[in-house]
Symmetry: C2
Subunit: 252 residues, 2 copies
């Protein structure tokens, strides 16, 4: 019924081979696979690309292809305050994301870099400032068991960040949250979720092959006066992250 390409057929065969491998086990090299399947190397690469994309296999330049070791990490970007549901009072010293990861039995870590940059068009639109205006950014790379899982960059207008802990480098863990401590508790968020392929920058920060699809999550936070006080841009490769949420029933 479905006329499969040679690459798709080989991808299926490789999938079985990978299943017989121990986690972390290595596949033969592209040239070997090309010989045994009697196709050109390009065809093998197309097949392997499919396995990389769905996370079956990890490609390491200069080393080879390996069976995936780590499972998908669940990410709950929505924080309800309903039914006593989940967090919102995360364990001391952990932000919501880190608390979630720890609850899944993994070990979270975040590298943080603070700097002052000119607002890109995306950020300017989110913060309602002029493009090129100076804003403060806290760039985070999040690791789970020392494996890069996602990047989360928070942008603040100067008038919010000035003279607060926001400008302090390092992985801050402030009870009640950074924004509340800075005097701008957030009243609501608007979230936008799009998808794309990993950019060169994503690839460099998270050590990804550029064929990986990623989620891009943009959250605009508003304070009680409906002023935009923060934009968070999270980039999460789909082969490492699963987004979860729960909602009350409706007519749908």
């Amino acid at each position: 019924m479905a006329p499969k390409s040679a690459a798709a057929r080989i991808a299926g065969a490789l999938r079985s081979n990978v299943a017989d491998l121990p986690p972390g086990g290595r596949l033969p090299g592209e040239r070997d696979l090309a010989d045994t399947h009697e196709v050109a190397r390009g065809t093998i690469r197309a097949a392997l690309a499919m396995l990389v994309q769905d996370g079956t296999v990890i490609g390491r330049p200069g080393r080879g292809y390996y069976r995936r070791e780590h499972p998908l990490v669940d990410w709950w970007p929505l924080t309800f305050e309903r039914d006593g549901y989940r967090r919102d009072t995360p364990e001391a010293g952990l932000d919501a994301w880190a608390a979630d990861v720890k609850a899944q039995g993994f070990n979270p870590r975040q590298d943080v870099k603070v700097s002052i940059v000119e607002a890109s068009p995306l950020i300017a639109a989110g913060l309602d400032v002029d493009p090129g205006e100076l804003v403060v950014v806290r760039e985070r790379i999040r690791y789970v068991d020392d494996w890069p899982i996602q990047t989360a960059d928070s942008y603040y207008p100067m008038w919010v960040a000035q003279g607060t802990d926001i400008m302090r480098p390092g992985d801050l863990t402030i009870p009640g949250g950074l924004m509340r401590a800075a005097g701008h508790p957030q009243a609501r968020f608007v979230d936008e979720l799009t998808g794309r392929m990993a950019s060169d920058e994503d690839a460099a920060r998270m050590d990804l092959p550029r064929i990986t699809p990623v989620f891009m999550h943009v959250r605009v936070g508003y304070d009680a006066n409906d002023r935009r006080v923060r934009v968070i841009v999270t980039v999460a490769p789909t082969d490492r992250n699963r987004i979860m949420f729960e909602s009350p029933g409706g007519a749908a």
Copy 2:
């Protein structure tokens, strides 16, 4: 700083060319582009693939590449009942999705096919039935302005669907919702969102190039007795869909 590949460099150049094109305008063929940029056709294809992935351009087999005409369609999978926020009493004759699309000024349409199938492992896990057990599926293909936007397949256990409107073919528009009418109003949902590349099946149903990344949204619906009464699997290409939600503030 960033050592770009030839394909990436050409992709950038093409991006400018596309911007000068009217929406729907056609690019030169791959062989022409290869000549003018003095590279092999494969390199041009790699560059074009980048533009297709981020939705700048639409590839039509046998015809050519065209500048994208239609904007991203917003999709709000979450239905709050707060602040008088949005829908949940959708316009008569429209489900929540169609009402959203119409509110954006577009024209929604859905093709529905009803059938009885054996539960796949994914569906069996979601409905808490045995794999291979017979379930009812309502397969929908959703169009916006006659452009395929997403597929949404709803699976029901037999004991839920038997003898109800669920088994009636066609695009049903039942005030209060199909589930309520069938005697199984849903108390809550658990949602899971993953990403992957379009499968052969996705490509066929929505006329996609297989290099398109897609969102896969799996929603499990529970009734008041916490029984699983429905699983909806939605596949939404990231180059046509943007997922939106809004949430109350927290400590995060």
